[in-house]
Structures are given as C-alpha cells and as structure tokens.
Symmetry: C2
Subunit: 371 residues, 2 copies
C-alpha cells in the first residue's frame, strides 16, 4: 500500500522513527536505576505501548484506563486530579483487578476519597501531587497542608500512601536546553525534598514519580527518584523541535493531506487538513517562531522551508509563504499529497482513530487502531 491509496487526511506514523525514539529514551534510562512508566495519553494505542519497556502505564482519563486495562495492563496511574464523580468508576476498575493509583493535592479530595474507600471497603493507592513549577496542579511541599495531607492519608486504613508525584510542565516553555536542564533539576529536587518532608514525619513514601519528555531526556541526575514518566517523546512534534528536544528526523507523526485549491492572487494553497486533523494547538508562541499550525513537507518528508499552515478551519488548511515568496503552484497540483508535522502530536493523534504505519520510508505496511 502507498500514500495514494489512503483517503486524506490521515495519520501517518513512521515506524522506524517511532522505534528510534523509543530506543533513544530506553538507552538514556539504562544509565540510571529507575523505573519508567510511559504516558498512554499520547499513543492511546496498545500496539505502540507493547514496543515500550514500561512499568505499567500513566493515563489522563478513565477512558484510557479502561482501554489499557482491557488489554491486560493492570498497573495504571491516573495522573489527573480525581473528582468525586469518578470515584465509583475508579473503585470499579480496582474491584475488577486494576492496580489503579490516583493522585490528590488537597485534603478535601482525600477525605472524600477516604470516605468512598471505607464505604466500599476497597483500598486504593494514592500519590500526593506536588507543584514543582506553578504551572498547573499540585501542592507546594512547603505548604502546611502538605504534611497534614500526608498524615491524613496515612491514617486512613484504605488509603495507601504510595508517594509523591510531579510534572514539570514549565519545561514546555523553556528557551534553551540549559533551561530545560535547570527545570529538570528543579523537578527532581522538589520531588525528593517533598518525600523527605513526609519521611521526616515518619511516613512511608516508597515512590517518587517525576517527568515530562524534555526533563526526562535531559536530566542526568535521578538520584532518589523511583520512577519517571513521559509521553510525547514517542512521536515528537514541532513543540519538541522548537525546544531543541528532538531533530526534524526524529518526528514520527504527520498528517497526510491533499491540495484541494490554489488561491494564486493571495499566494495560498488550500488543503484538506483543518483543525479536525491538525487540531487548533498553536504550539510554542515565541516571537521568533512564526505562528502556524504545522510544518509542511512533501510525502518523503522534505521540508518546504518557506511554507507554513497559516490558518485552519474545520476541514480546510491554508498554506502560505512565511516570507511572502511567490509560491510555484505548478509544484502543488490539485490532489498533490503533502505531509504536515503538527505542533502538538498528542492533540493531533487524538483527532484520529488509526495510525497508518510507514516503514523504511517505502510503503504503508498496515495500520494500528487507537482510541
């Protein structure tokens, strides 16, 4: 099968690059005594997870938890703050055999979880989410509530304190590899310090889980850390490229699209790759990076360095010249296939139900279904 036989837009996964990215992470982690728990929200696909030497899985919602559990993965970390409306579903997964752990960052949520676990008489594994960079959720380990939360979890017979967890979301806004390394150090230090605070209270804190693709790949000191998590490294994307985390030939995921129109007077090409396929994610917004919705290449992956996806509608993508250079429309006849590498691989992959597998840059060898 070749690209011409696929109805566009379609998700193309370069299997060689995927395996390269997986191996690169594995080689890096082999330098350290550390467990790895891949984030399943990026792939949403068991075939990909099978390629990874992972300690269980991380998920971002219970739909993913159900999916991976149905494919035999028991050790599941649900790494988004839990709401009471999801307790029944969580305990049902545990009752059915999942070793599901959840995260909390406040005593109110922990108390409600405790009440439910007592009511059901089902023990549940709990991590305390630590805020290491003020980017999203988590509790500051210096906050007095942190210790009371640890003590409260420890005192409840059904809440099993697993440890602490953090995610250095700030790493996605770093301006240099040097800054990523600093953020990685901060992530590691913050989590280790949080565990120390708990241990100083006599609490058991066996697990310290940290991670983001940039900080895991550039950290050289995981001392004291038991587990790292990362997701987008399997594919990479323009965000990772612009951060310096990957090279252009380490981007595994692209959207195959077709030229459906020429707007010669406006120097624009119209494609069938709108936000239904690329997503509306704008990636990193830096003054030096032109705002766009994807990197345009030919089907072989040769970059059209002057072209950008300047806007996206539901099904239309509009491709313009970055530097107002006149586009040679003869190079883009009607129906010409192009590939677009997205700003955010997680957001783009989430728009599709299957990956078409491209191998050795030669042919499509099959597809993998995803959720």
């Amino acid at each position: 099968m070749n690209f011409e036989q696929i109805e566009t837009p379609a998700l193309i996964l370069d299997k060689n690059i995927l395996c390269h990215n997986i191996n690169k992470m594995q080689r890096h982690l082999n330098n350290f005594q550390i467990k790895f728990r891949v984030h399943g929200k990026t792939a949403k696909c068991m075939e990909i997870i099978k390629l990874i030497n992972t300690q269980g899985i991380t998920v971002s919602n219970l739909h993913e938890a159900e999916y991976y559990f149905s494919h035999g993965i028991k050790d599941i970390l649900y790494a988004v703050g839990i709401a009471p409306g999801k307790f029944d579903h969580v305990f049902d997964l545990i009752r059915r055999g999942a070793d599901l752990s959840v995260i909390v960052d406040n005593t109110a949520a922990a108390e409600m979880l405790s009440e439910k676990s007592n009511q059901k008489n089902i023990p549940i594994l709990v991590y305390i989410e630590i805020d290491c960079d003020q980017r999203r959720g988590g509790i500051d380990p210096e906050d007095p509530e942190f210790i009371s939360l640890g003590l409260m979890i420890n005192q409840n017979k059904n809440l099993k304190l697993q440890g602490v967890l953090t995610h250095a979301g700030k790493s996605y806004q770093a301006k240099s590899i040097q800054e990523i390394k600093l953020i990685a150090k901060q992530e590691r230090d913050c989590a280790v310090n949080a565990a120390k605070i708990l241990r100083n209270q006599g609490l058991n804190c066996p697990q310290i889980s940290i991670g983001s693709t940039p900080t895991v790949l550039f950290n050289q000191n995981f001392q004291g850390i038991s587990e790292v998590r990362a997701g987008v490294y399997i594919f990479n994307d323009l965000t990772m490229l612009n951060l310096g985390v990957c090279t252009p030939d380490e981007m595994a995921l692209s959207v195959l699209g077709s030229v459906i129109g020429h707007q010669v007077n406006r120097n624009q090409i119209i494609t069938d790759t709108g936000w239904m396929s690329l997503s509306s994610d704008r990636g990193i917004v830096h003054p030096e990076i032109p705002l766009n919705f994807g990197l345009v290449t030919d089907i072989d992956g040769n970059i059209y360095s002057d072209l950008i996806v300047s806007s996206v509608n539901q099904e239309h993508g509009i491709i313009s010249s970055k530097n107002s250079v006149k586009i040679d429309f003869n190079n883009f006849p009607m129906g010409k296939l192009i590939r677009i590498f997205p700003n955010h691989a997680c957001a783009t992959a989430a728009r599709f139900r299957r990956y078409y597998l491209w191998e050795d840059k030669k042919e499509i060898t099959g597809f993998w279904e995803k959720i």
Copy 2:
C-alpha cells in the same frame, strides 16, 4: 438522571434551546422563498437533523456523507473542495444511491473529476465554488478561468452543472451587526452576479447556494438565491455571542466539568475540562475580548462573570479571574460541577461521541449518539 450521575467532562445539550434556535432560523426563513440545507458538520448527529426542516444536507467530509447517507439522507452536498484521492469514494456513494454533489473552483480539479466520471460512466452534480470575501477557497467570478470552468463543466457529458455556491467566512470576523449585514449583502450579490455571468454564457445555473450562520440570520434579501446553508446556529457559542448573533440564553451546548483542584496562591481553579473536551479553539481574538477558552457557569447556567478558562492542557482546564478578583474557593468545593460554554461549538462537539439531553432545565432525559 441528573448532572451528578454523568462522568465529566460531558457534552450537555439544552434541548429547549436547541429547538428554539432551530425554530428561530425556520421562522426567519419562512419570510422568504428559499430552500434550507443545514450543515451537518456541527451536529454530526442524525437525531438533531431530524428536528430540522432541511433540504438534504451539507457535509464537510465523506465520513459525514457516509453517516447521513446510512441514515436515509440522499441529497448531500459535499461543500469542501474535492481531491482526486476521494473520487472513488464519491462515485461509490453515488453508485449506492446518494445524490451527492461536489464543489470545484478550478479547471484542473474539474478535468480530473470529468475523467473519473467518464471512466466510471457515472454522472455527478457539480457546483462552482465562488470566492466572495477572500477568506478561504473559491474562484473570483471576475477571473477569466471562471467562465472557462463553467463552459468546461457544461461540455462534459457526465458533469452536471448545478450552479454556484459561496460561504461568507468573513462574517465570523465582523465587528458589528451592521457589518454582518453588509457581508450578507456582499455574499448574496456576489453569488447572484456569478450566476448571471454563467447565464450570460448560455449556461444553465439552476442553483445559487450561499450561507453562514451570521449572514443567513441577518440577511433580509435573498432575491435570486435558491438555497441557504448554516450549521452552528443550532447550538451557538461564544463566537456567535461575541458577534452579537445570539444572546447568552441562546447557547445550547456546554461542557459539564468538575472542580479537581484549587491553586489558592495563584487564584486559580483546576477543572477536568482541557482541550480534549473544549478544544483549543480561541474563538474571536479582539482586543476587547479577553483571550479564553470558554464561559464558566454553574450547572443552572448562571454566569460567573469574572471567571474565564485562561488555559487548557490535555485534560486540565485552568480557571482564573478576569479582573484579578480574589476567587472565593468555598464556592467551588472539590468535585463541584460547573458548565463551560465553548468558543466554537463545532470544535467542542467534535471532541465527544454523545450529547446528554437536558430538558426544561430540570433533568437529563437521555442522550444522542454522534459521530
């Protein structure tokens, strides 16, 4: 069933408002002798289309065409420029009984379509897409290629020239109702003029199809127009609200979410409504409209006028104060349900597989599956 029994995030469709919006459009159109062809890309749901007095359907991709055709709708307009890679699928739909019409805006695409229709010996209905506002696709009716395109379609035995079609995408950037009315006039005039140019060449041009939610709702002169199209009016959203096209109580679609965290020091609430549910669509970016990803209300729809969804991650939504007013976190306990009205109802609806139906602002009476 009530909101508490639904796992968040979930799509809530206020059925009364939906019906109000559908009736409002119908009442408006009753003033004119005109056909209406709803755009099925917004609802992606047959149950909703059944409520509408529509002349066939408009679709934005062949997946929608398949879906609506499988539910008995034969008269389908595929209103995105056609690429050769989709010809086989298009002709297969026609062979199976669909009265599918396609659009072209250039002779190259029309020639390829003609070749395929001759090869299959299957006639196909063709509209010429007109560019009325330089927003996306279509051909300028003053462009000499327009006439040659019309003549070329007319000369081919299997291409059946249906007429001209345009979409005033510019209306989504209008600054006032007065401007929408001007754009509506321009849309109508442009399409009528295009048809006149074809007819002056002795060509048959039975259909003149125009539309966008803003221009259809505010146009009072459809003279010469045979058909109008609109989609998002069924739900409305913040884009329509900011344009002045709807009032707050005419927004039918919202995302039910849960509070999953407090960041008191940063004056932020964390919810489970990230871009997986709301989408990353930023809506209208005007200096006077604060950048955000949704309007926050309680479950009854009372607006928290100071709160905005200031950022979205995959599963996390971050709610902040618009004016840096201190949030009273006691009003947003862990697990509290809120509703968020999205920037773009089409983009948000596309993230879900079902609508939960809310009736009389009392209870959830069921759900409708969607694609």
